[in-house]
């Protein structure tokens, strides 16, 4: 499932039978036919093409957020765990405080300040997501720094930076991979929610959340678009969640369940 989704996303433009922006008012809310396999939307754009490109948009956002979150979370988590003291206190406070807000409220503040759009989505979701990674990395750092091989490296006079890069980080990879995969489904879901509310991806870029929103008023007569986008979204999220679960069971690292 995941491979299929990623392939679709990568080759979306090549797979799409039509331009996702070209409007054709004769095709407005057209039924599925040979030309538009899934019919047309309100302004006569091909729903299938928009669906495919929507996959690309969703995954691009998801992987951007994931990259930011992994980098920020790992750096801050390592500092908190390794340095301890005031740095730890500050970072732990910051995570607790971030977690004290509902995600959507953070997203609304960000969308309000930056104006709705892809950058706002990425910033908002990163702001929410780094805390989870930072917590895991912090606890892993704390437990790893007491391991014999780390103490041995310290005794041998290895610089802390080198110990972190060569000894700590490789040991965190399984836990982080599992956590990150589990996070993709969540990020896609959040992005879709924001786009659904009109706070996320803006026209003319296609997005599943936006397509569902636009399809809702026409649900009575033309349910195609909302249904197709809902199905694509559900398929993708469930796919990534199952993939994450499988990976967790296969690697089963400590702390990944949190």
């Amino acid at each position: 499932m995941v491979v299929f989704i990623v392939l679709v996303a990568v080759f979306a433009h090549w797979l799409a039978p039509h331009s996702y922006t070209r409007t054709d008012l004769f095709m407005s809310w057209s039924l599925p036919d040979a030309r538009y396999l899934l019919g047309g939307d309100a302004v006569g754009r091909d729903i299938l093409s928009r669906l495919l490109v929507g996959a690309q948009v969703s995954l691009t956002i998801a992987f951007s957020v994931l990259t930011i979150v992994l980098i920020v979370g790992t750096v801050l988590g390592t500092i908190a765990g390794w340095h301890g003291g005031w740095a730890d206190g500050l970072i732990t406070r910051a995570t607790d405080l971030t977690l004290a807000f509902p995600e959507l409220i953070i997203a609304i503040i960000v969308a309000a300040i930056m104006g709705p759009g892809v950058p706002a989505v990425i910033v908002a979701l990163s702001l929410v997501g780094w805390t989870g990674i930072a917590r895991i990395v912090r606890s892993l750092t704390l437990s790893l720094r007491n391991e014999a091989f780390v103490e041995a490296a310290m005794a041998a006079g290895t610089r802390p930076a080198a110990i972190i890069v060569f000894h700590l980080l490789p040991n965190m990879v399984p836990a982080l991979v599992v956590r990150a995969t589990a996070g993709i489904g969540f990020i896609i879901m959040e992005e879709a929610t924001l786009s659904f509310l009109g706070l996320g991806v803006q026209e003319p870029q296609p997005t599943w959340g936006g397509m569902i929103r636009d399809g809702l008023p026409a649900l009575r007569t033309e349910p195609w678009m909302a249904m197709a986008a809902s199905a694509a979204l559900a398929f993708t999220i469930v796919g990534f969640n199952l993939f994450g679960d499988g990976l967790r069971d296969a690697l089963d690292p400590r702390g990944a369940r949190r």
Binding site: D96, L97, A100, F101, P102, E103, L104, I105, I108, I109, A111, A112, I113, G115, P116, G185, M189, A192, T193, F196, L197, G198, L199, G209, I212, R213, G215, L216, L219, R220, P223, A226, M227, S230, L233, A234, I237, V238, N241
Partner: protein, 310 residues
Amino acid sequence: MSQYLARRIASFVAMIAVAVIATFIANRFVPGDPVLVMLGDQSSNLDLAARLRADYGLDLPLHEQFVRYVTGLLRGDLGLSFRFPGVPVGEVIADGLRISPVIGLAALVLSLTLGTLLGAIAAVRAGSLVDTGLMFVVVIGLSVPGFVVATGLVWLLSVRLGWLPVAGWGTPQQAILPIIVAAIGPIAYFARLTRTFLLETLGQDYVRTARAKGVPERGVVLHHALRNATVPLLTVAGIMMGGLITGTIVVENIFNIQGLGRIAVTSIAARDYPVTMGIVLLFTLFYGTINLLVDIAYVLVDPRIRLAVS
């Protein structure tokens, strides 16, 4: 115990302070001059511009604006709307204030009761077909966003079967679907955790002790296991409120209900920052208060915390 509560109250205050500062920044550092937006085609009317600037306090130095903002908040004054010049935010959101809490609290009650019930059934019947079926539905409910489920439900119940209205607010029929949709995610979340925690407590030694005393199965589950599972469940009940707020905002937008969530979203589009931030503050205050109450309830339920630190 007092130390524990003091820490909780301190973090509550910190959370509100952060929200106040963040909303102030959002209100004041947004791109564009709100006064020009408000003036519209009267942009050459300098008298009106000056008056608006004074009304909104935009002519004051920043720190005075902040003091004015905070003192206003303490009086319950959320400022004036940009979209409707001169109208207090409180008035703009007044209708929403009558709607959103109804949806939110109804969904809360629904998710707590139904979530606990389904989770308990699954735990007691762990491994059975009922359990597997329930958990499958729960995973779907957790991974599929509320508006996707809503789309399906609206199509089926309203469009196809014509049982319930498609949108709007006011009649009980109009309330059913929004409340259910807002509760789906939290129900699934709570059911799964109830199952997990209940299975954990059912495996505890004291549950075996209860059985050895001749406590009937119902009493074992309710009096011993569920009661003890309440402690960890309480901690997640607070987190669940976040999902409930999201759910309320989403359903208001699906069903075109003029609640706080709908107003917040339209206000963002209209660049009406004071209204958006006022709603953000209200949600934050609500969420923080619920979590503080949960922390207090936590102390009351668990004698180990109640007595250990006192």
